[in-house]
């Protein structure tokens, strides 16, 4: 039920916003530790979202209330806080511009993966959610792995119409390191001028149909 409500909001966003962006940022301060920041920016569709959040349901999906969204963030932050090696968990909710952020510090990539998994379990309320390594890192490489086909993707896949409606949605990933990057595996990924950051931008509908498009192996 909880999962359905989260999916409800996201799908409703997808269908009515059309234009929104997600930004995933991982910034390493040394070879091990760093900061994770996830941003959902629906500012471009704020007028429609303002109307949408007043509804209880849309297209058969439950639309959560503002306090419920806050609850999800709170639950996720509490779950992430419990992961050893995680600190400074924080989230922001801006219901004027519909921009939401979730951030925390991690001591190593393994901890980052644990935190992301803990957040997923707490939000979806599914204790049996399979553990999934979002990132892998070593001295030589950093990897962004393929997202498994989650329920949101399955739901969106059900109707090609939904995907057409979100043709303007963007997903951005930025990875910043303390050492220079030699090469990237994803042809869409770009290395920064100082050589220590990589940015990958993709259309969200494409990632939903083919999660492999967001994968990247960065070699140092």
């Amino acid at each position: 039920m909880k999962t359905r409500r989260v999916i409800g909001l996201l799908c409703a966003c997808l269908c009515l916003c059309g234009c929104f962006e997600t930004i995933e940022e991982v910034t390493y301060t040394d070879s091990q530790s760093g900061t994770y920041l996830l941003t959902l920016n629906c500012s471009k569709s704020k007028s429609r979202l303002k109307a949408l959040v007043k509804l209880d349901t849309f297209m058969g999906l439950n639309i959560p209330k503002q306090w419920e969204v806050s609850n999800y963030f709170n639950t996720a932050s509490l779950a992430v806080e419990k992961v050893p090696g995680i600190s400074q968990v924080n989230y922001t909710e801006d219901y004027t511009n519909f921009i939401f952020t979730f951030t925390f510090k991690f001591d190593k990539t393994e901890t980052l993966n644990k935190a992301i998994n803990a957040a997923a379990v707490s939000i979806t309320n599914k204790s049996n959610l399979p553990y999934y390594n979002v990132f892998n890192s070593s001295e030589e490489t950093f990897q962004r792995n393929k997202t498994p086909n989650d329920s949101m993707a399955r739901l969106a896949k059900k109707s090609s119409q939904h995907l057409k409606l979100i043709s303007g949605a963007k997903a951005t990933a930025i990875y910043r390191f303390h050492k220079p990057v030699k090469k990237v595996s994803n042809s869409k990924a770009v290395i920064s001028k100082n050589g220590k950051a990589v940015m990958l931008q993709q259309d969200l509908p494409k990632i939903i149909t083919d999660p492999a498009l967001f994968t990247n192996t960065i070699t140092f």
Partner: protein
């Protein structure tokens, strides 16, 4: 033989009248809803219409407040949700009306479901009478009926008539105010008996210890202990159980008394209410009857009851008996699904004194000068009203004073009424009721472009994120509200005062604007002309057409006639509206399946009122559908199902 015939005739008459379900409906019910399940079932075909009945389902809501778990709800005496959703499974006679009404007798109020049974045994088999804890369920028989009750819910069966009553939640009724288990069985008698027993034992022990015999001390303690009266606890428990039973019985008595009164034909019943019977005999798919005054008098709507609702202070209440305008008030709402059309109708009934006043209020026609401000070329829908605002203001002033005076209140609260009257005496009625003269049109005339700022990010050479603000053009529905002017001098005075607020910008002598902010991204213009006050987000109207649109761009004569004919009128050109939404909100003209379904099925919406008749005024709303051969309920449900993604 003669006697036998008379008795037979009498019993037949009694039998027949008993079958009239409206005889069972108490006249003091604040609302009554009647559902014709047979019609709805036939008209909806295989589609599920029960979602519309959701608001009628009580019980689950009350339980929520009790904080019960699913386990207890599965042990409800009857599931009102299932009863309303699957009446056939409960042996309900689908051909007969199914009523839901709200009632209050003494301190108990709640919702009652009244219906005729086709199969009493099927209904009985649905009652969960065996899974309740001690004191949580009782069953009683009276001459006419068998009654079953838990603390929140009661069921009564009288022949083929059944009633389910769901009690309203009442804080002072809650069980925790009488928590017996927490107190245990320690009462004053228990204490006294225990004390006496201890004293007796101690004395015995003392006597034996001082008897001079050589005693085993431990053995003596054991001996004295064995002499303790073990019945003290048992008796206390019995007393406590009797007390608990008495309390529970008292609670059940209240519910049983109420249900016993409701399961028999009522002395003062709805059969004598002409408006209710009119709706009843209209053969509607469903209708709702509201006893307007009863609703006001009830605690939830009575403004004088808020501060005594939770008070145990039983101060005598007073009210004025003067009901010149407020007697015989009721409202009936009916709904009928026909082939290709759904018709909703409301009749507000009043007494003959009100009729005279209403005749004056509604004896006006739409001011034709207002039509010129509506962009007829892009018109998607409108609502209009034409009433004599001065007469209406006068009427409602008297009406509400009489209504408030007649509501039960404490003696000291009568001063509130005097205060209200004093306040009204100081009001400038000319300003209040004659600045706008009661002629109004509110219309949607297409879509307009609005610039909206939004937040996004750009990235520097090292991919550091920077927040930026950009602008996009969004479509918003173009709305216009036009009101006729009564007193021009007052209209100008108010217009000038309003324009001074800092949120407004004066554009011309007769135009000022509110420019949207990040919270309200919409520009609203206010204009004053010789014959109208205009509020709109259509910049073109206030900049270029304040003198009115040219005749060939105004509303069609058909629309003008429609508005002029009725005091209240509304029309939505659904097709044009949906096409506008499609062009505005869906990229490349691609829509979702449910939207396409709406476009292919939905016709127009129309609303119009009748002139006041002697006993009421009627407002009718019609939703037409393109397919005139299939029932509207079926088509609407199909559209909704598509919207749900099924």
């Amino acid at each position: 033989m003669k006697h036998t015939l008379i008795i037979l005739c009498l019993s037949l008459t009694t039998g027949l009248s008993a079958q009239n379900m409206s005889d069972y409906l108490p006249k003091n019910a604040s609302y009554i809803i009647s559902i014709n399940f047979a019609e709805l079932e036939a008209k909806s075909k295989d589609m599920d219409y029960t979602r519309f009945l959701e608001p009628l389902i009580k019980g689950a809501r009350s339980r929520y407040y009790y904080g019960s778990t699913d386990e207890t709800s599965s042990c409800d005496l009857i599931s009102t949700s299932d009863l309303v959703r699957k009446p056939k499974d409960f042996g309900v006679d689908m051909q007969s009306a199914f009523y839901v009404y709200s009632t209050r007798i003494n301190d108990i109020s709640g919702t009652a479901y009244l219906f005729k049974l086709q199969n009493v045994e099927t209904f009985r088999s649905q009652l969960k009478t065996t899974c309740h804890k001690k004191y949580e369920y009782q069953q009683r028989h009276i001459e006419q009926a068998t009654m079953y009750s838990t603390k929140e819910l009661a069921v009564a069966i009288n022949g083929s008539v059944a009633l389910v009553f769901v009690k309203d939640y009442n804080y002072y009724d809650a069980d925790y105010s009488h928590d017996f288990s927490a107190n245990g069985y320690v009462d004053s008698a228990f204490g006294a008996e225990n004390e006496a027993d201890n004293f007796r034992n101690d004395s015995l022990f003392y006597e034996r210890l001082n008897s001079g015999k050589n005693l085993d001390y431990d053995q003596e303690v054991e001996n004295v202990r064995s002499m303790t009266d073990t019945m003290i606890t048992y008796r206390a428990k019995q007393r406590q159980e009797a007390k608990e039973l008495e309390f529970v019985n008292q609670k059940f008595n209240g519910i049983f008394d109420l249900v016993a009164k409701l399961i028999i034909p009522q002395h003062d019943n709805m059969s004598s209410d002409r408006n209710f019977m009119k709706a009843q005999q209209g053969g509607h798919d469903a209708f709702a009857y509201m006893n307007v005054y009863s609703n006001f008098a009830q605690a939830d709507f009575n403004p004088f009851s808020w501060n005594r609702r939770y008070s145990r202070d039983k101060e005598e209440l007073v009210s004025s008996g003067n009901r010149f305008l407020t007697s015989d008030m009721s409202a009936t709402y009916t709904i009928d699904f026909e082939n290709g059309k759904a018709v909703l109708s409301s009749v507000n009934s009043y007494n003959k004194n009100v009729y005279e006043r209403f005749r004056k209020i509604y004896d006006v026609k739409m001011d034709k000068d207002l039509f010129k401000y509506i962009d007829g070329e892009n018109l998607l829908g409108y609502m209009s009203s034409s009433v004599d605002m001065k007469e209406m203001g006068k009427f409602y002033e008297e009406f509400y004073i009489e209504l408030l005076e007649s509501l039960p209140k404490r003696k000291k609260e009568q001063d509130i009424m005097t205060g209200i009257e004093l306040f009204i005496a100081f009001l400038d009625k000319e300003m209040l009721f004659n600045t706008a003269n009661g002629n109004m049109i509110f219309a949607c005339t297409g879509f307009t472009d609005v610039k909206v700022k939004y937040t996004t990010y750009d990235y520097d050479d090292d991919f550091q994120k920077n927040e930026t603000t950009e602008e996009l053009v969004e479509k918003q529905p173009k709305m216009v509200f036009v009101s006729g002017i009564g007193n021009k001098e007052n209209a100008r005075k108010l217009f000038d005062i309003f324009s001074k607020f800092s949120v407004f910008t004066r554009l011309k002598d007769n135009v000022f604007a509110f420019y949207g902010n990040k919270y309200q991204p919409v520009n609203i213009f206010f204009a004053l002309t010789d014959d109208a006050i205009i509020i709109t987000n259509d910049a073109n109207l206030v900049q270029n057409n304040l003198g009115g649109y040219p005749k060939n761009k105004q509303m069609s004569s058909d629309e003008k006639k429609f508005i002029s004919k009725y005091n209240f009128a509304a029309r939505i050109n659904s097709q044009k509206m949906l096409e506008g939404i499609k062009d505005t909100y869906f990229k490349n003209g691609e829509t979702l399946p449910w939207f396409s379904q709406m476009m292919t099925s939905l016709g127009n919406f129309e609303l119009y009122s009748s002139k006041p008749e002697k006993d009421g005024i009627r407002v009718t709303a019609e939703v037409t559908l393109k397919d005139q051969s299939s029932n509207a309920l079926y088509q609407i449900l199909k559209m909704m199902s598509a919207a749900d993604g099924h």
